[in-house]
Structures are given as structure tokens and as C-alpha cells.
């Protein structure tokens, strides 16, 4: 049992949490991460505490990173990928890891044996460039992930185009989620709570009007229902998704939307528009998925199994991901013990 090694694909919050739990159970793990840093998307998220903590989970990621680095029985390969995996016998695989992928002169391959694999490669954010909202055309149309990264380092949000302070900001929800034209029929679950929290964080630091365009607020967890009345209080909530975004000659972003209250079509101009983009399946690793016999569902996410954890199985938030990783670690422990 002691000499058992577990390979974890993905060094995001799922992989890190799984490694920590395995470590506590006395198992050695090896994390393979394609980026140069561990922590994944969740490590780019801003703390959304206003006066008090709103339980967004962003801080936990940094605690996890720190803990993983300090553990002796966890090794980490960043800028690396799993190049080959072969099953030798039950509970024994030979793997080849490619290191330093980004640098041709330092590229190297290493081979070793492992006893189990955990797939924790996470999600791919939906790229909204083909939606009619002007992403990558108009500088001040950004995604919720762009906004996370900005708010992580800046207290004040400015327009990317001219560095001026915005007077009006719009959030558009469900971009790339719940969309049969993309075969994305799922709700991405995390966008409503995080967008509402970011909107409030912005309001706490600067004088700005915020309009929130949504279908219906999707919330998960008991806490959110307590927070929601407070979160929506300072915003204009419009239960309608705009059909497009157009930039005028002054760089203002025009949204035409149907205002339910007044039963009218309204043209309104905004300085910044934030698109809440969906969580989509990570299909980059389908060859590995096949090699180790995992199942992909109709949407492209992986079916749950003891070898699969985190948002590669479907949209989930930070705390749910950590929970999922804990269950996976215990499953792996029991699997290797038998």
C-alpha cells in the first residue's frame, strides 16, 4: 500500500484536492499540469468579500496550493502532459510524461509506473466570439473570467479601451450555456452566483450602475438563497437576454432588450459588458480517456467514476469540486487497498 503511486492529470483545484486527500491517506501522488502554474482557473478568481465573506471559495484555492507544495509525498510536473499510458496488469500502468512542453530545447520525457490514474483535467471556458455580443471585436466586452482576473489584482474596474471609469456596466448571463444551437444543453451552475458577487464587489468600490440580464437565477447551496436578496438589491435586474451588442462611434456599447416592466423595447448604452460564459467539456484528453477506459457522456463530459473528479464531469463550483476530490481520493484508496 505504501509504495502505491497515483497519477493525477490536472493541477487545478480538483487535482490538488485529490492529491492532498490521497497524501493524508498515505498514498503518493504525481500531478501533471500543462500550464506553468498549478491552481487552474480557480486560482485566477478574485475574492468577492464585500463587508463580509460571501463564501465564493477563491481563498481556499491558495490554501490548497500552499498545502500541496509543502507535502512530501506529492510531486508536481508543470508545463507537462501525459504522453502515453499502457496498462501492464491490474493496478499497474506504465506512463510517459513529457516535461517542459513549451521549450523545445528543454523538452524531455520521463517514464515510470503508477497504480491508478485520476482524471482531473477540468473544463474549457466557452469562447463567445461567435455569439453576437462583440467579444474580441469590442474591447469593452469581456467575459466573467476576464473580470475575475481583473478584480483579483485591481480594486477599481476601468474600461480596457481607454482606461476610463465606467458609468454603466451590463452582465449578460448564460452565454454558451443552455443553448441547443451549440448542443450545450446544460446550466453551467457557477456563473449566476459568481457574476452577482462580482457585480456587488464592483459596486462596493466605485460609483456605477449595473444591469443584470438573466433568464432565471440558478443557485446551488443553502447560503446563496440567504445572499441573493442582498446581492440583487443594488442592481437593475432584467429578466431578458439581449439579442446583440453594437458599438457606437463613441465607443459605447448598445444593447437592445425587451423591458418586461414597461413592455417596451429599449436601446441602452453601456461602458462595459460582461458575458457570463459557460463551462464546456475538456475534450483535449479523449485519447487518454479511451486508453484508460473512461466513458464520455452525450454532452462530452466524463461519466463519474472513482477515477474521475471535478469539472471534467460537469460544471461545479470550488467547494463542490473539493468535495468531489475527497470522494475520489477515498475511492482510490479503497480500490488500491483491496
Amino acid at each position: 500500500m505504501k509504495r502505491n503511486k497515483v497519477l493525477i492529470i490536472g493541477g487545478g483545484i480538483a487535482g490538488l484536492s485529490a492529491a492532498l486527500e490521497l497524501s493524508k491517506l498515505g498514498l503518493e501522488s504525481i500531478i501533471v499540469e500543462k500550464e506553468k502554474n498549478i491552481g487552474g482557473y480557480a486560482s485566477q478568481f478574485a475574492c468577492k468579500a464585500n463587508i463580509k465573506c460571501v463564501k465564493c471559495g477563491a481563498c481556499i484555492v491558495h490554501e490548497k496550493i500552499q498545502s500541496v507544495i509543502n507535502r512530501e509525498n506529492i510531486s508536481i510536473y508543470t508545463k507537462s502532459s501525459l504522453k502515453d499510458i499502457k496498462k501492464v496488469e491490474e493496478k499497474k500502468y506504465n506512463v510517459v510524461i513529457e516535461k517542459n512542453m513549451d521549450c523545445d530545447s528543454e523538452k524531455a520525457e520521463i517514464s515510470f509506473s503508477i497504480n491508478a490514474v485520476v482524471m482531473a483535467a477540468g473544463f474549457i471556458p466557452f469562447n463567445p466570439k461567435d455569439k453576437p455580443y462583440g467579444y474580441q471585436k469590442f474591447k469593452d466586452v469581456i467575459t466573467n473570467l476576464d473580470l475575475e482576473r481583473i478584480l483579483k489584482s485591481e480594486n477599481i474596474l476601468k474600461r480596457l479601451s481607454d482606461n476610463t471609469l465606467p458609468e454603466k456596466i451590463a452582465f449578460i448571463q448564460c452565454v454558451g450555456s443552455r443553448d441547443s444551437t451549440l448542443n450545450h444543453l446544460w446550466c453551467s451552475k457557477v456563473c449566476c452566483p459568481s457574476a452577482l458577487r462580482m457585480a456587488n464587489l464592483i459596486k462596493a468600490h466605485q460609483n456605477v450602475d449595473i444591469t443584470f440580464f438573466y433568464i432565471d437565477i440558478q443557485s446551488f447551496g443553502k447560503d446563496f438563497l440567504n445572499l441573493y436578496p442582498e446581492l440583487k438589491k443594488n442592481m437593475k435586474m432584467i429578466r431578458s437576454i439581449p439579442s446583440d451588442v453594437i458599438e457606437d462611434e463613441n465607443g459605447k456599447l448598445k444593447i437592445t432588450y425587451f423591458d418586461n416592466t414597461n413592455k417596451k423595447s429599449i436601446d441602452e448604452f453601456f461602458d462595459i459588458i460582461v458575458l457570463s460564459i459557460g463551462i464546456t467539456p475538456n475534450k483535449d484528453l479523449n485519447n487518454i480517456v479511451d486508453a484508460i477506459g473512461l466513458q464520455i457522456n452525450d454532452f462530452g463530459f466524463l461519466n463519474k467514476s472513482i477515477f474521475v473528479t471535478g469539472s471534467i464531469t460537469g460544471p461545479m463550483n470550488i467547494s463542490e469540486t473539493i468535495g468531489s476530490a475527497g470522494i475520489t481520493a477515498l475511492g482510490i484508496y479503497n480500490y488500491l487497498k483491496v
Binding site: Y257, N260, K263
Partner: protein, 243 residues
């Protein structure tokens, strides 16, 4: 929230929406609405008659057939289909609207559209203005002559009529020959400059089809068939519909 929420009472009576679904491929996806409102945000008829596409579809889903089938809004939809374009579920609201129009008794349908459909059915020109073959031929030849005589560079301009075997069969909204004949000329000039092999037809030349907007299936089909026959009779390859 809306000021006047939709009120439903008792059991669903009849289900007009289901009838429409049985006519459409994939049922027009009419059951897939998430009520996101993108349709209403993009619709030029939103807000008219206190109605918008999302509300219209909601009423259909809730079995509010009486209200659905009586709102004048059905006649304000321009059938532009922008709602389908922006809908994440590709819901065919225009076909719902079309079938609502279809369900109206003929004498209650808007007089203007009704009259235009009736007139178009009177002769084989399909002109909603009632223009007959003789008048049509005369106007085209007259205007073409005038251009050839008065506009340098267009001495050879042709506006062929019933030219057997031409590649393009061009049709023409019948408002122009009657009220603004000169409006026909710019397109002729373009076709002349590019050397297109085209013709007008003395039959089935009118581009408009008000029977389609009136949602009279037999009649709009009849008009389309007359037009298609006119194209076939001349052996043309491409039907250029300018509507």
C-alpha cells in the same frame, strides 16, 4: 415582473400549440422555451398590442388559445425570423404566428392584406395591384424606350419580355410599374452592365405574395405554382425573386 401577469384559470381547454407542433419539423421546438427573452429583445414588433414573442409563446404553452388566436399582434409580426436567429433553442415562433393567422376567419383578417391576396388571384400576372399582361408589357417597353432615347451609354438597354431560354427569370414588385416605373431601371442597368441573360415574363411576374402573409395555404401555393410554371415555360434556369 410584468405589470399584468398572465392569468391562467382551471384546466387547459384546447391546445392550439400542439396542433401547430404536429405540422412542423421537430414540432418547431415549441416546447423548448427557457423564457430567456432573446426573441423579444430582437423583435421589431415587441411591445405592440402589449405583446412580444416570448409572451406570445408563453400564452400558447399555457393553452390560452382564446387570447392567442384573437390578438392583433399576430398581424404585426413581419415574419423576419430574427427571433429564431437569436433563440438558443431555435424555436419557430414565426410558424406559430403563421398558424395563428391561418386560424382567423377570412372576413376578420386585415382588409389590406386580404384585398391584395384576392386581387393577385384574379389573373396570371399574380399582381396584387391588379396589373394585367397588356399594361405590364406596355409600361416595360415604354420605360425602356425612354431610357434608350434619353440616357447616354444605355442606347442598347434591353428589358426583355418572354425571352425563351433566358438564364434568369426576373420578377418585379407590381407597385413599381404602376406607381414608380422609373424605379425598375437601376436593376435593368446593372443586369445590362454585367451582360446578364435575363427576361421578364408576361405571366407570374409579380414578386409579391400577399396570400402568404394572409396565411392562406391553398392560395399562396396557387400563386407560387403559377410563378414556377411561368419560369419553367420559358425554360429559365434561375428565378430571381426581388421580394
Amino acid at each position: 415582473m410584468s405589470e399584468e401577469p398572465i392569468k391562467i384559470s382551471g384546466k387547459k381547454k384546447s391546445i392550439f400549440k400542439d396542433k401547430v407542433m404536429s405540422l412542423l419539423p421537430e414540432g418547431g421546438n415549441l416546447n423548448l422555451c427557457l423564457t430567456c427573452g432573446a426573441c423579444s429583445s430582437g423583435c421589431p414588433a415587441s411591445g405592440l398590442e402589449g405583446m412580444d414573442p416570448r409572451k406570445f409563446l408563453r400564452m400558447a404553452s399555457l393553452g390560452m388559445d382564446e387570447e392567442l388566436l384573437s390578438t392583433n399582434w399576430a398581424w404585426m409580426c413581419s415574419m423576419c425570423q430574427r427571433c429564431i436567429y437569436v433563440c438558443p433553442m431555435k424555436i419557430d415562433i414565426p410558424q406559430l404566428t403563421f398558424n395563428v393567422r391561418n386560424s382567423w376567419p377570412k372576413d376578420k383578417k386585415p382588409k389590406g392584406i386580404r384585398g391584395s391576396c384576392d386581387v393577385a388571384l384574379r389573373n396570371d400576372t399574380c399582381s396584387a395591384m391588379g396589373t394585367n399582361e397588356e399594361d405590364w408589357r406596355f409600361v416595360v417597353e415604354d420605360v425602356a424606350n425612354e431610357v434608350r432615347e434619353n440616357q447616354p451609354g444605355f442606347e442598347d438597354l434591353q428589358a426583355p419580355m418572354d425571352k425563351q431560354g433566358a438564364y434568369y427569370f426576373l420578377n418585379q414588385n407590381s407597385r413599381e410599374p404602376v406607381t414608380e416605373p422609373d424605379e425598375m431601371v437601376p436593376l435593368w442597368k446593372i443586369l445590362h452592365k454585367v451582360g446578364a441573360d435575363w427576361t421578364y415574363g408576361s405571366k407570374g411576374w409579380a414578386a409579391e405574395n400577399y396570400c402568404l402573409f394572409l396565411a392562406e395555404n391553398d392560395n399562396w401555393e396557387k400563386i407560387i405554382r403559377i410563378k414556377a410554371k411561368a419560369v419553367d415555360d420559358l425554360g429559365c434556369k434561375v428565378w430571381l425573386n426581388t421580394e
